[in-house]
Structure formats: C-alpha cells, structure tokens
Symmetry: C2
Amino acid sequence: MRMKTIRKEEGPIAGRPVTNQRSLLLDIIRQANRHLDADELYRLAKKREPRISLATVYRNLKLFKELGLIAERKLGDTHSHYEIRGAADHHHLVCLGCGQVIEFESPFIAKATDKIKRENDFDVTSIQLKMEGYCSKCKKKMK
Amino acid sequence: MRMKTIRKEEGPIAGRPVTNQRSLLLDIIRQANRHLDADELYRLAKKREPRISLATVYRNLKLFKELGLIAERKLGDTHSHYEIRGAADHHHLVCLGCGQVIEFESPFIAKATDKIKRENDFDVTSIQLKMEGYCSKCKKKMK
DNA sequence: ATGAAAGATGCAAACATTTGAAAAATATTT
DNA sequence: AAATATTTTTCAAATGTTTGCATCTTTCAT
Ligand SMILES: [Zn+2]
Ligand SMILES: [Zn+2]
Ligand SMILES: [Zn+2]
Ligand SMILES: [Zn+2]
C-alpha cells in the first residue's frame, strides 16, 4: 500500500523487516530519554498508530533488547521499565524507602567483567546490575 | 488448635508469626540448594501441606526476600527463581546460547559497592548482578 | 510491478505474579 | 484458659507478560 524505500540494512533494526510499528516504537523510546514502561509506550504509540497492540509492544521490546538497542530495568515496581542503550552502560541504585532511583557508572564493574570474560572464556554481551538499600534521608527516618 | 511453643524471637523469621506454611517453605528452600521457581516450591510444599495456596508461596517469597533470607534471580526464563542467601553473595553468568548458568564471586563488585555507598551515602542491602553472553562452546558454534 | 516466501501483527488465551477481602491462625492481654 | 488484637492464609479477581494462530505486511526474486 504505502511506498517505502528504506532498505533493511540501512536502519538500526538490522536484518529485520522495518514495520511502521517498529520504527514508531523505537522512535518513542529514543525521544523519551527516561525509564518508560510497556503501558506508557503502548499509549504513546497508540496516538500515532491507533491499531497497535500491546503484544506488538512487548514483542518489539524483546527484539530491541536482543539487538542491544535498549535495556530492560526491574527497579522495584511490579513491572519493567525500558530505556535506550547509549555509549556508556549505567546501573541503578534503588531506595527501598522512597523509591528514588540513582544512576551510576563504575570502572570496577568493567574490571570485574574483564576478569569474568577471561576466566570463563565467555563473551559478555550485557550486564545488569541493581543495588537496593536506603538513601541518606530514609536511613535517618528509620532511627 | 495445635500446640506450638516456638517463640517468634527464636526463629529466623524475626518478629513475624511462625506459621506451618512459613517454616515449611523456608525448609524446602534450604534443603533444595538450587534455583527453585515458585511453582516447583508450591508443588513440593503441597506434598506436606496440601491446602497451601500459590498466593502464600508468593507472599512468603517476598517476605523472605525482604528479610534477606533468600535471593530472587531472573535468569532468562519467563519466571523468577529463588535460592537461599548464604555467607558469600554470588552472581550469575547466563549463556544466551545454551542457557547454562555459571555462578561467580568477585572482589571488584565489593569494591564497587563500597564506593557507591560512600559517594551516595547509601546503605546498600542487596546487589543483583547478572551478566549475559555466550559461553566458549556457543561462541564456536556461531562462527 | 507481480507473486511467493518470510516474518510481523492483532487478537485471544495462557501464564506469572500481585492484591483485596473474608476466614483462620497466631500472638498478646486479661 | 479465654478474650482480644494482630497477622496470615485462602480464594478469586486484577495486573503484567508471553504465546499460538490466522491474517496481513514486508522483503526478495522474477
Ligand atoms: Zn530514600
Ligand atoms: Zn537508567
Ligand atoms: Zn552456551
Ligand atoms: Zn545462584
């Protein structure tokens, strides 16, 4: 129906058909620049593509994750959040008291990864690290 | 109905009523010594306490986790696994090719944790680290 | 441009987990 | 030991995520 001239090799969704749903979803995640959940993404996508289904959202989140384009985060809610994967991988510190999420990077994690790779002859493609505990404010409240 | 003389302060389930379901579940997890999922735990518990419900299993897994007795692991399946928390915390390396799970410990992770604690004045109570990738066998197959 | 093959989508159903509320068990007070 | 207060359990319903299958879309070869 529609005239599309995008070759599959050009886009970031390497080797896979480029559908409207796919580019739309990836576009929304890129623009968002924060931790989106599946339902937020679904509702945002519906505005531009009203017939899109939640299953498609989940299936593409899974695909984008496998392609290394996004990261899934389990931050403490009952559901997951997703964010774009940039140059430097970051990790999360979650306060069990107030729910605040602090993002951080750590050179020690890179060292640990190198060691693991060598010792196990393993090709590590992704690292998921979350630390939980209590922030300074919540620590004080608990006394 | 039943004569129980266990005082709540004695058991490991500090400050909480000690129910049959609770001690049974914790006992099974202790004995298992491997990564159990909620349904396996439920079926094992049913053998000794046929009226136990799956909701009780989930609610107690949540409690044990909060008390630091067990750890929840998301190893790549659609569902979680649980294991007892011993003296030394360990982490997981999951092969995306064959699904094998390698457990490891790392002093670098401890260093990273210390730094995070100091820099953010944060009291870290648990660390969840998973690395994904391809083991040596699966790497070779992919060539 | 057309047709065939491969792959994605939408829907509904299945699965995994959480939660409200009434009933039951445990703990505390008398 | 009985009465009361507190917490847990069960069941059922709700929420979050995955999956089978028929249909539609995209891609590839002509
Ligand atoms: Zn806090
Ligand atoms: Zn983040
Ligand atoms: Zn492997
Ligand atoms: Zn383990």
